[in-house]
Symmetry: C2
C-alpha cells in the first residue's frame, strides 16, 4: 500500500507530501514551491478570512495570496490547479466557500470492509484496528485539500462493535490520524452509537436520563482533550435497526440536543441524519408512503434543535436513486441548520462499474434548492484502498466535482469535468472534448436504461446492481411501483398519498398535474396507464421502450468513445474491463425492463425492435 502510484487528478505533481509540515500554511507553501517552483507568490496570513482567500497580481508581476490558514492552502491549490490545467489567472481573485462544513462520510467498518464500497477495502481500518498507511493518508489529505473538502468522517454510520472503541481504546489512534490530516485543513468526525453509554454500566440510553447526558459530556471532554479540533459526531438514530431516542419515547430533538450539549463547549457539532422511515413496512399497507417519512418526523421539530445540531438530509426522499425530487425537508425547515447529503459511492448508480458522472444531477438539485437553505454539505465516500482510490478511474471526477460543488454550488459542471479531465489525463483538445461530453451525458444514459421516469427501485435487492423489476415489490422497504396490466406508479399528489403536499405550492403546481409534470419525474408522482399520452405525443409505454433502447445504444457509443481515448495503463485495462461489464448491464436492464412492461401491457414497440417474450 505504501507505494501507491496513482494520485487521481494530482498524478502530475512532482513530489509526495513529506511528513512534518505543521499546519495548512506550511502545507500551502510546500505545495506551491513543489508544484510551481518558479511562480512568484507570497503568502500572507489573515486569520479573519478563515477558509477564504484572495489572490492579487502586483504591477511587478508577482502575486500575493492572502487568507486564513486554510484559506492559504485553498488559494494555493486554486493557483496550482489553474496553472496545471493551463487556465489563465485573473489579475485579482477572491473566493470563500459557500458551506462551512464540506464533508466526506466514509462508511468504513472496523473489519476493513466498506458498506457500499466499490473501490477495495478501507483506507483506515484493518482487522478491527485503525491502521492507516501514513503516506497514503497524506495523499488523501492532499486530494481533499486540493478541492477544498475539510471534514472526514472515517467510520460507518451503522456503528457495530468494535466501532464504538474509536471513542475508547482506539482514541489514541484516532488522535494520531487527526494529526496526520490537520496540516491539510481536514478535520475528523466520528459516527457514534447512540446506545454507547450502555456499554459502561448505564442501564439506558434515554437522552433525558441524567446519567446518559453525564456520560456523553465526560466522553466529549475526553475525546476533545485528545482531538481538540474534532468536527463532531455523526449520528444515525432510529433508522434501519440503529438505536435512538424512540426507544425511550423521546423525540429526535431531545436526542440530538443532549449530544449537542456535550460537544458544545469544545466547538463541536452533532450531525444528525434524517434518514428515518419504517423499514419493516407491509407491502399491503397503502396508507404508508415511505418518501413522506422524513418530513413527518422532522417538520414538527423545526426550531427545537440546539444551535450546534445540523440535520443531514439525503437529497431525495428515498435513498439515492438515479432520479428523485428534492427532499421536501430541504425546502421546508426554516429554523434548523441543515446539510444536504449526496452519495459519491455508486450504490444504486452502477457500483463504479458503470460510468456515472454526478455533477449534472447535483446541478439540477440546486435549480430548486436555494443555496442558503443549507449551511453544509456532505457526501458518502467513494474511496477505498484501490490504487486509484475510486475503483473506476473515471469515478474520481465525482469526488473532484463534489469538492467544487461544496465550495460553490453554482459551479459549472462542464467546466469542472473538463478541468478534472485535463488534470488527470492531459489529453489533446478533441479528446478532452469527447471525454467531457461522454462523462456529462453518462448519468442520463444510465437513467435511460434503468428504472423509468423516476419510479426507482427496479434494482436487484440488497446488492443494488442490475435489474430486478419486482425485486422490492413485496418486500419490507416501502419501495413499490405496483405495476399491473393497466398502469404503473403511485399517485403521490393530494389525491393520492399526499406526499406532494409537503412541498411549497409552486412545486405542487409544477409536479401535480401529469400533463405538466416534467417527464423524468412522471412516475415518481403519478400512477398512469401505459396508454398515457406524453407531451411529445408518445405513449408512456412507448417512451419507456424508447428510453431503454436509447440507453443501450448510448452505452455502446460511450464504449466506443472511451475505447478511442489514449488512457494509460493501468487505467486502460480497468476502464475496458468495466465497460465490458457495463455493456452487459445495460443490455440486461434494457431487455428486462422492456420485457417486464411488455408482459404487463401487451403493447408492442411501435418501432418493431426486439422485445423478448
Amino acid at each position: 500500500m505504501s507505494s501507491v502510484v496513482n494520485q487521481a487528478w494530482l498524478r502530475a505533481l512532482p513530489s509526495k507530501v513529506p511528513a512534518g509540515l505543521a499546519n495548512p500554511m506550511e502545507m500551502a507553501a510546500f505545495e506551491l514551491k513543489s508544484a510551481l517552483p518558479d511562480f512568484p507568490v507570497e503568502l500572507h496570513e489573515a486569520p479573519a478570512l478563515g477558509d477564504g482567500f484572495s489572490l492579487q497580481k502586483a504591477a511587478d508581476g508577482t502575486w500575493t495570496l492572502t487568507g486564513g490558514q486554510t484559506g492559504l492552502l485553498y488559494g494555493a491549490w486554486q493557483l496550482i490547479l489553474s496553472r496545471l490545467a493551463g487556465d489563465p489567472l485573473p489579475e485579482t481573485l477572491s473566493s470563500s466557500p459557500r458551506y462551512a462544513l464540506r464533508m466526506i462520510n466514509c462508511w468504513d467498518n472496523p473489519d476493513g470492509s466498506v458498506e457500499r464500497g466499490y473501490s477495495g477495502r478501507s483506507l483506515f481500518f484493518r482487522n478491527n484496528r485503525l491502521s492507516p498507511d501514513p503516506d497514503r493518508m497524506r495523499e488523501l489529505g492532499r486530494l481533499l485539500a486540493s478541492v477544498g473538502l475539510n471534514v472526514l468522517c472515517i467510520n460507518n454510520v451503522n456503528v457495530h462493535f468494535p466501532g464504538q472503541l474509536l471513542l475508547e481504546d482506539m482514541l489514541p489512534d484516532l488522535a494520531a490520524l487527526a494529526d496526520l490530516f490537520r496540516p491539510f485543513g481536514v478535520r475528523l468526525m466520528v459516527s457514534i452509537d447512540f446506545s454507547q453509554p450502555m456499554r459502561h454500566g448505564i442501564p439506558t440510553a434515554d437522552p433525558l436520563d441524567p446519567a446518559v447526558g453525564a456520560w456523553w459530556r465526560e466522553t466529549a471532554r475526553r475525546v476533545y482533550a485528545a482531538i481538540p479540533d474534532l468536527a463532531g459526531f455523526l449520528v444515525k438514530a432510529d433508522s434501519e435497526g440503529r438505536p435512538g431516542p424512540f426507544t425511550y419515547g423521546r423525540n429526535h430533538a431531545e436526542g440530538a440536543n443532549m449530544l449537542a450539549e456535550a460537544v458544545a463547549p469544545f466547538g463541536g457539532v452533532i450531525v444528525w441524519r434524517c434518514f428515518v422511515y419504517n423499514c419493516r413496512q407491509d407491502w399491503r399497507d397503502t396508507s404508508t408512503d415511505r418518501p413522506m417519512a422524513a418530513w413527518q418526523h422532522y417538520a414538527p421539530l423545526d426550531g427545537q434543535f440546539a444551535d450546534n445540531v445540523i440535520l443531514q438530509v439525503k437529497h431525495g426522499p428515498f435513498d439515492f436513486q438515479v432520479r428523485e425530487p428534492l427532499s421536501p425537508l430541504l425546502l421546508g425547515l426554516k429554523k434548523t441548520p441543515m446539510a444536504m447529503e449526496l452519495q459519491l459511492a455508486q450504490e444504486y448508480t452502477g457500483h463504479q462499474i458503470d460510468v456515472y458522472t454526478m455533477l449534472p444531477m447535483w446541478q439540477e438539485l440546486f435549480e430548486e434548492l436555494p443555496e442558503e437553505n443549507i449551511m453544509s454539505i456532505a457526501a458518502v465516500s467513494n474511496l477505498g484502498d484501490d490504487a486509484n482510490y475510486t475503483g473506476h478511474p473515471l469515478a474520481a471526477v465525482n469526488l473532484f466535482g463534489f469538492g467544487l460543488l461544496a465550495w460553490n454550488p453554482g459551479m459549472n459542471p462542464e467546466a469542472a469535468v473538463r478541468r478534472w479531465s485535463r488534470l488527470t489525463w492531459g489529453f489533446a483538445p478533441a479528446q478532452e472534448d469527447a471525454l467531457t461530453r461522454a462523462l456529462l451525458s453518462s448519468r442520463r444514459t444510465y437513467e435511460k436504461y434503468t428504472a423509468p421516469l423516476g419510479i426507482g427501485w427496479m434494482i436487484t435487492p440488497h446488492e443494488h446492481y442490475g435489474p430486478n423489476p419486482s425485486g422490492y415489490e413485496y418486500d419490507l422497504w416501502g419501495t413499490y411501483h405496483k405495476a399491473d396490466r393497466d398502469a404503473v406508479g403511485i399517485d403521490r399528489t393530494g389525491k393520492g398519498t399526499g406526499y406532494l403536499l409537503q412541498y411549497p405550492e409552486e412545486l405542487q403546481r409544477k409536479y401535480g398535474d401529469p400533463a405538466a409534470c416534467p417527464d423524468l419525474y412522471l412516475l415518481f408522482y403519478h400512477r398512469l396507464p401505459y396508454s398515457f399520452r406524453m407531451r411529445d405525443g408518445r405513449t408512456l409505454i412507448q417512451r419507456i421502450y424508447d428510453d431503454h433502447f436509447e440507453g443501450l445504444e448510448e452505452t455502446k457509443a460511450l464504449a466506443a468513445t472511451l475505447s478511442a481515448l489514449p488512457f494509460p495503463e493501468p487505467d486502460r485495462t480497468v476502464i475496458d474491463e468495466r465497460m465490458k461489464k457495463q455493456l452487459c448491464n445495460a443490455r440486461e436492464w434494457c431487455d428486462i425492463i422492456n420485457t417486464f412492461f411488455h408482459r404487463l401491457s401487451g403493447i408492442p414497440d411501435a418501432q418493431g425492435r426486439t422485445i423478448y417474450p
Copy 2:
C-alpha cells in the same frame, strides 16, 4: 453436545449405546436385551441373508431371529419398534431390503456449516476438522440402523478446500469415524473433488490421462487400506461450477469409469450425480429448457458405464421443487444402475420451519417409477447438531420414513407416519390420529400456498424460503414461468420445448393434453391462458386463487391441531415458534401469489375475497 437428551423416535429407549460393541450382531443382541429384556429371542447368524432376516415363533413361545450380520440388527429393530409401538407380531416374518444402498448424503462443509442445513451446524465437522462427538455418533448410528439406513456420506458434494483432505490428512479421523459407525451396519461414503489429482503436481484431471488414473488408483488403495468397507465415492462433476470431464472434452462415462476402476478392486462404487445443466442460461434463450438437460447428457451414454458406477438421479428434472414429474432418466435408462435422490433437507419446502411431511410425495413417485428401475436410493440429509437432529421435531418423520421407503418403497405412508408418531410421542389414539392426519396433509397444504400447479420456482432466490414470484424470472438458472397479462407457463409438449418427448408414450399421453393432464402438473407442462377451463369447471386463475386461500386456511387449521396436542418441552416451544413463522410465511405466499396473478390478469376472485392491489 455430549449430553444430548433427544433421540428422535428412539427417545423411549432405556439406555445409550455403549462403546465397544464389535459388530452389528453384538449390537443386535445389546439392543434387544436393553429394549426388550424379557423377550425370549435367540439370534442365528446366516451370512448369506446379508441385510435380510427372518423371525419365527416356536411352539414354546420363544423366537428365533435369523439373518446376516446386518440382517440380525435390522430384525432386532423390527422387533423392538413393533413392541415399543404396541403392534402385534406375526408368527413368522421374513424381510429384506428392496435396495442395496440406502444412503444419506450430508451436505456438511469442513468449516461446520451445512449447505441447505436447517438443524444447526454439522454433526461431523468443526473448524475445518473432523471432530465428531462419539456419543452422538452412536446415537445417530442407532437412529439410522433402526430404520435400515446403511450408507452415510458425511461431506458436501460441493467439495471445497479443505474437503479434499478427507482422503489425505483427515483420513485417520475418517477411519476412526467409520469404526464408530461399523457396528451399526452403516458404511461411510465420501464426496470427492474430480480435480483432486491437480493438488498433487499432476497438471490435469483428464480422466484419460494415465497419471490421473494412477493417482486415483493409488489413492483408492490408500483409502481402502484405512477403511476397507468404505461404500465408495460420491461425485458432483461439471455441475454448478464443479470440475469434471467436460473440461477435457471427455464424457461422463469416461470420467466415472476411470474412478470406478480405481475403487473396483476394493468393492467400492462410484455414485455419479446426474444434476448437470447449464446454470448460466440467458433468460432470452427459449431454445434451452433446463429440465431436458439430464436426459440430453446421460441417455446417449446408457450402457457405457462400468458395473460399479451408479448414476444418482434427482427425483424430478429440476431441483426438489414441491411438485415435479418423475425424472425421465429414471424411466429411460435401461443398462445403467441408478439411484434416485430425494431431499430430506427442506430447501424449497419450508426450511424445517413449515411442516412438510414427504412420504405422500414419495409414494406418488413410485406410482410411476417401477421399483426395479433403480437399485439404490439416496436422500440429502436433514440432520444437524440441534438436540432434536432435524431442527423441527416433526421433520424427523421424514428421516424415519425415508428409511422405511428405502427398505420397501411399497410401504404405507400413513402406517409409517403413525408408527413414527407413536414411537416419538406416545399420544392417546385420538391425538395420534389428529397428528397423523395433519402430517399426511402438510405437503399438499404447503403446495397450495406456494407456486401453483407444478410451475415451481416462485421462491426467494438463493435463500429459498418465502415468495418472490419473479425472483428467478430473468436470472441464469433456467427456471422461468414467463407469466404475462394473458397466460403463464412453458409449453413442454412436443409442440413446445419437446421435454415431454423424453418420456415413454404412455406418460406422453397422460400429460400431453391440457384437457387430460392431472391438474397439479398442468403448469409444469403447459402454457395456458388464465381463462383456461379446468375439468372441474373453474378457470385456471380461479383455481390459483382458491388453492392459495385454501392453503392459508389449512395452515391455520394445522396450527390449531398442533396447538391442541400435548407435546412435551422443549418440543412444545420449538413447534409453537416455528408454527408462528409458518403462518406468516403462508400468508405472505397466499397474498403475494394472488396479487401477482391479479395484477397480470386483472381478473377478480369469484368469491370476492381480499386480493391486495
